[in-house]
Each structure stands twice: as structure tokens, then as C-alpha cells.
Symmetry: C2
Subunit: 273 residues, 2 copies
């Protein structure tokens, strides 16, 4: 199957995005990527909640859940299993940073093929690159999945070697924050640590679900700053996002871990909402 | 005259920007705003040089000057005087931060009406707001006029009062860096200081021209960190950009300056290249 990427803009089969859209001019918008399984969006309540709060963080009024669900129903048929990406921007604007008094948010929904992760990634774990590009501190935007993602782009451009599944990104003070496309967790005995995203980084939906569900595998979730040496000192490490769930990390820099079962246990508790 | 904004995308009268364009997805691109007077782009050699170096900073190969000049000639007639904005993005991409091995940059040229600044802004100077939104440090992107501009958007959204012409933005360490849409200069006797943009901020073309030409009004240009109290201690302050040239600042916070003639002298030396 080679499903073409398809999309709808503002609910219609549009010719494209306006060159005056502030999403393009300034990255003035947010996005969310999630799975659609047999026409149904996975973890939709949490993704919608995050769209609303992320829009709110930059002063955009998110379209209603009804409107967005309508878009999903228009673009995905009941037997579609695919990746969905919503981009919500502030809409069109005049020249200049000041937004018009009244704006009509632009909503773009994109359908793309569900990636087929090599079975070995689940079975034997993955290796992470250590990025040199750091994440800058901006408390006004921390946690928000906004469209200003040049740091992730620069970080991802640092490696080509496909043996690296993703790259660990640090902040300016050498704390581990996340991967370019994933959040990260580290187990120390019965504690499950994940970095704070209060100064930079993205608060992923799967990260939040894992924090909420950590008690099921009898782990105590702790959000805190973690340095790279501290991360390498963990008993087990895994990364997570809304597409692949959780994947065990085996190698970062010179550190190698034996294969553990934590990512598998986490995937089992991540029953779709 | 109510000239409609018009545009061309990749040299043609396109229907819009692809929703897969990385300029929209990630702010993965750069831009430049400049005047076109009777069909001719003002300070074009410097603007093109900056497009090339800004593209280079994020790994985009800027289209040739010939191609961009061709776009200008297509969109502007020989009697057009207007504002031009070039957006150059990395082009379309697949899902994910990794850029395709081969990308074709997208170029968007927008024409909009030349603003008519109130004569009083030139005659009697302007008042600046002091923004609470700070600029974050990111040496990999500092100086570059890229499309990740949410900090400017948030800062500009802080005030509605039209008595403020622009807003001063500080960095995380309380250094003055720039305004939301301008660079800033402060005169102390025969020294003309302007903030360093090595950790954040945009290196504007007009800023660079003023640094290069400061010897004409017998001033010594100095690029350095300037705190807000130091700025308020200046003999004269002005702001600059490629559209209005230079405008005298009369008021910031509780500080008021008598009207000076520095901005007028600077405008006189800013003969278009």
C-alpha cells in the first residue's frame, strides 16, 4: 500500500494555504500528531485538550471539538488506519506581528501512512544520538507543541546514520529534556523519572498518560531535571510518542543497557482512550 | 489607493502554499522585508546577502539572485512603490523533522502597500512599550531572520495602545536587544551603541548600514550588551528598520528625552544602495 498523503484545509479540499497565513509567516500556531485506527482518533480527548491549552498559551481560540471531529470524519474513512496531524494557526494576517482584531484560525488536517517500525525496534531496543543543538529556555512557550520548531530541525539534521532511532536533546544547562520526536523516561529502581518541560520541551500526550498510569507497573512517577550522566545511570530508559507508544533504549553515547521489558510493559498499559 | 496585497509563489501565480511545506510545519525558513521604489528593490545587495547567509545558517540553499530578481520583476511594475517580503522555506517535506535528501526551496514574494507613517513620528519622535516577553538565547539561530517568531508575536500582543509605536524586547539577562520590528541604537556623546545579536535578536540590514556609516555623522559605532537602565541613560535613542529608516525615540517607561536630530541625520545618510 502506498497511501498518498492527503489533507483538508478548513474542512474543504482547498488548493493550499494562504501565503498570508501567520502559521507560515511566524510559526504562529500549534500542532498535534496522533493515530487514527479504523477511522477513530486514538487518545482524542487528550489530544484535543492539549490543542485547546496550547492554542490558549499563544492566544488562539481553538476550533470546537465538533468541528475538528468533523474534519477527521471527512478525511478518514471508517476503515482507514493512518497517522493524522492537525495544524491550527492563528489564521491570515496583515504584514506585521500584531494580529488582526478578529482572526479566523486555519485548521489543516493531514493524513499520512502509518509507519511500520522495524520489529527489531520493539524486540531489541534502539540507539539514540546525542544532539549538540540545545533547547533554549522560554517559559512562555515551554511545553507547547507550537510551530516554532527550528531547534528540532537543526538537531535532527545532525545525524544521517539510520542506526540512530532518534536524538537526545539537552537544554542550555545540560539537562536532558526530550528526543527530537519523543519524550523520554528513565527508571531508577521503583521510580520513573521524566524531565520537567517547564522551561523548554514539549509536554506530549503519551508522556502525560505514562505519568498518570505509572502506578500500574508499581512505579512512582517523578518529574525533575535529569542531567545526561544521571540519565546514563538509570536502570532502564525508554522513549515515547503517540505513534509508536514506547520503545526501549539500549544505547546512548558510550552507555549500553541490557534489554529490559519496561517499554513493553508501558505499551501494554497504554490502552487507547 | 487601496492596493491589494498580491504575491507569487515559486515564480508563478499559485493557488497557495502546500500544507506539507516545512515553512508552515516548523517555521523552517527565513524572510526579508524591504522597500521597492519605482520597481527597484532598495538595498537589494544587502538583503540578498542576508537571505543567503540566513538560509546558510539553517542549511537551505538560497535561490540565485537572478531567480529572486526575476520574481521581483514579475510582481512589481516599473512604477510600483510598495513593500516587498520574500519568504524562502526549505520546501516540502515528509512527516518528521528530517528533511528529504533533496529539497526544492519554496520562494514566496508578497507585495503590500507602503505604510504611511504619521508625519509626527518623524517630526516629534515616538514612545516605546517595554515588553515582558523575553528573547531566549539560541546561538545557532541568533541574528537570523527565520520564521520562528512566536516571541515577537507574544511581545507585540502585550499592548494595544496605539501611542506605543513599537516595544523594546529584553533577553533573559535583562539586556535590551531590539524592538519587535526594529533594531535600536543609543548615542552616548560621540559613541553610537547598538546591542549585540550574538545570542538572540535579528541582525537587520538597516542596523548594519548604520554601523557601517556611523562615521559620517562622526560617531563611533560600538556593538555591546546594553541593559535597560543603560539605555535610558543615553543622550539619544532611535530605532530603525528597512521600511521607515530611522525614527527618534522620545519616551521609554518613565524616561523622556527632548527631541533630538539624530534619527533625521541617520535617515539622510541612509541613501538607498
Amino acid at each position: 500500500m502506498n497511501m498518498q498523503r492527503t489533507y483538508i484545509i478548513n474542512g474543504g479540499l482547498d488548493h493550499g494555504v494562504s501565503p498570508f497565513d501567520r502559521g507560515l509567516s511566524y510559526g504562529d500556531g500549534v500542532f498535534r500528531t496522533f493515530k487514527v485506527i479504523e477511522g477513530l482518533p486514538v487518545d482524542w480527548p487528550l489530544h484535543y485538550q492539549r490543542l485547546v491549552s496550547d492554542c490558549g498559551a499563544i492566544g488562539i481560540v481553538c476550533p470546537s471539538a465538533e468541528v475538528l471531529i468533523g474534519d477527521i470524519q471527512s478525511l478518514f474513512s471508517p476503515n482507514d488506519s493512518a497517522v493524522a496531524k492537525f495544524i491550527i494557526t492563528r489564521g491570515e494576517g496583515e504584514r506585521g506581528y500584531a494580529a488582526p482584531a478578529v482572526t479566523m484560525p486555519t485548521r489543516i488536517l493531514i493524513k499520512s501512512e502509518l509507519p511500520t517500525y522495524a520489529a527489531s525496534n520493539y524486540a531489541t531496543g534502539v540507539q539514540l544520538y546525542t544532539c549538540k543543538t540545545t533547547l533554549s529556555f522560554q517559559t512562555a512557550l515551554a511545553g507547547v507543541k507550537h510551530l516554532n520548531r527550528l531547534e528540532n530541525v537543526l538537531a535532527r539534521a545532525e545525524w544521517n546514520d539510520p542506526t540512530f532511532f532518534d536524538g537526545v536533546m539537552l537544554d542550555m544547562e545540560s539537562n536532558v529534556i526530550e528526543c527530537t520526536s519523543a519524550n523520554i523516561f528513565a527508571r531508577y529502581d521503583k521510580e520513573l523519572h521524566t524531565p520537567s518541560v517547564d522551561r523548554c520541551g514539549i509536554a506530549g500526550v503519551t508522556r502525560q498518560r505514562i505519568i498518570n498510569l505509572a502506578h500500574l507497573p508499581k512505579l512512582k512517577p517523578i518529574v525533575k531535571n535529569i542531567t545526561l550522566p544521571e540519565l546514563l545511570d538509570a536502570d532502564e530508559v525508554f522513549i515515547c510518542n503517540s505513534i509508536y507508544g514506547a520503545i526501549q533504549v539500549r544505547t546512548i553515547a558510550q552507555k549500553h543497557w541490557a534489554m529490559g521489558d519496561l517499554a513493553t510493559r508501558i505499551r501494554e498499559i497504554l490502552v487507547p482512550l
